[in-house]
Symmetry: C2
Subunit: 337 residues, 2 copies
């Protein structure tokens, strides 16, 4: 039984100093006592502590006085923390978890906010964390949450999914504000796959917008896209109904419509004729969707899971197919439900 | 058994000369022999036949030579037609069906494209048509179909729902092009309620956009809105999974995001402080969502179906509540799934 003021007096580690990690650190600072913010770069840590802003990722947002940035993990975990908010790209997840595991005592609540999967193994982030960290109480936070909009205090909501009710309760206690709502969920598999797979559709959506069509075409793409990511996720053990919610359709809507989304921008630039390698090299932050597309389509093709839009994005990325070709393929294929 | 070329040689009546009726007449003209286009106004009929455009609703779109506009129903149904495409506002549906019933021989396929319900009775359009017309083979066409975009030939898709496979087959034969895909569906109840209820959310979405928030807030509104229209529709006999598809989430996305949608514009103007009566008076075409909101919320309240967004729109329309109040209510209410 958790005491009423437990979380207000808690210490929370936020791992990862990108835009979303920064926004989450600021949110959680409203509901806890002390936020230890782990960032990779010494200059960045010093600047955050000195200026109370993260100039690189969220320059316009003032950060709470409760946030202290560190690069040394022993400082972050000194004396123990009650919760760990995990906001790293999926590509570094396992390696970083191996390092951090020595600082974990097993009593923490761990909530990750990564929308991606492990390349090759197709493991979800909760699976990786469970394998690498000596801590059972793990969950995922995911939803239609463009970091800049959340940071500005625009009304938004998210989903916290876990097999453990205490993880859901902790997520609600730590993140809720009168501008940010938290919905609890038990379908961890569905929520994690929704978060990863929508990045594939965001690339498709950006690419399509390069052709300057209107809402009918985008609605068609996103709806049929949702149908295929549901098909895949249900095959992986997720629940269809999860995709009707904020972590499914909600996130899809926000990510696939906004130029704030990195994956959307990748698609848009592909449509304008840039090469994928050049686009990725030029981006400050990681576009998870490119690697997700490769892993997922190779898996789906081998298992005959029908994913025509994912296949189209794969050809766009790997074979330099044009967006017009992709669209023509999709519009003229036989109907299969 | 329908012959292969049956629909290519068919005669089709299109009832209703608004933007969507006009776009549907043009689509169907590609797949049949003769389109009889019933419009209310003699001048409009004459202008359509003379100029091959519908100046009032789709001025920029050239109409097929196969389309002939009439105001007299006996000319429309002369010698019989094979299909009737019904594109009238819900408010005139029953009265017009009573008039048209004498021209119907019962062998026709009837497909309606109305997104609304009967005020007061909450009857769906297929129910009204079944009551008034001596014809069993009825279906509904519904999806993310902004008329102007379809008319311009942008890629789009729709759903044809019916209890009769031959109605679905006819819908596919009559409307399919390489830019317009047709998905068959048997959940008539879900498709019709989705089409009607999304207009309520379009008003909410337009109103919210008046506050200039970004994609997180819109995604929150639409996703929680979808949850409540699913709740209502399932109570009325529809299926949840229908709402994951084009007639559900797809239509919601297109209608709630585009200033081309009349209901969206109603919401936007409400947010800017205009009164609902003045807005409706100034609009050329019908915004179904206003009456739908009234009927649905009165029904839901009496039966304790939880619909907080619909309730908010109701207060916006009927009581002059502000959008800020509506949003505050929604953000601070207790979580109930």
């Amino acid at each position: 039984m958790i005491e009423k003021d437990f979380w207000h007096n808690s210490k929370v580690a936020v791992i990862g100093g990108g835009a979303w990690g920064t926004a989450l650190a600021n949110l959680v600072s409203k509901n806890c006592l002390d936020v230890r913010f782990w960032v990779r770069n010494e200059d960045q840590a010093r600047a955050i502590n000195a200026t109370r802003t993260n100039q690189q990722y969220l320059p316009e947002i003032p950060l709470s006085e409760k946030i202290h940035a560190f690069t040394q993990l022993d400082r972050v975990f000194e004396g123990g923390v009650n919760a760990v908010i995990w906001a790293l790209p999926s590509s570094v997840c396992r390696a970083q978890a191996k390092i951090i595991s020595q600082y974990i005592n097993g009593e923490e609540i761990i909530l990750h906010a990564t929308k991606g999967i492990e390349h090759g193994t197709l493991k979800r982030v909760t699976e990786i964390l469970r394998e690498e960290l000596p801590c059972p109480r793990i969950g995922v936070l995911s939803g239609p949450n463009l970091a800049h909009e959340v940071a500005k205090g625009e009304p938004a909501a998210t989903v916290v999914a876990s097999a453990f009710q205490e993880v859901i309760d902790a997520g609600q206690a730590l993140f809720v504000t009168d501008r940010f709502r938290i919905y609890g969920e038990t379908d961890v598999i569905g929520v994690e796959w929704a978060g990863a797979l929508k990045n594939v559709l965001a690339i498709a959506s950006g690419a399509l917008d390069g052709l300057k069509y209107g809402w009918n075409t985008r609605a068609l793409l996103l709806t049929r896209g949702l149908a295929e990511i549901v098909r895949f996720s249900v095959a992986m053990g997720g629940r269809e109904s999860t995709f009707l919610g904020l972590a499914g359709m909600g996130d899809l809507l926000a990510t696939c419509s906004s130029p704030l989304s990195r994956n959307y921008r990748v698609g848009l630039r592909l449509a304008q004729g840039e090469k994928v390698d050049a686009i990725l090299t030029s981006m400050e932050s990681v576009a998870e969707g490119v690697r997700t597309t490769e892993s997922v389509w190779e898996f789906a093709r081998a298992r005959k899971i029908e994913m025509p839009i994912t296949e189209g994005v794969y050809h766009l990325i790997k074979d330099g197919a044009s967006v017009q070709e992709m669209l023509h393929q999709l519009m003229t294929r036989p109907n299969v439900e």
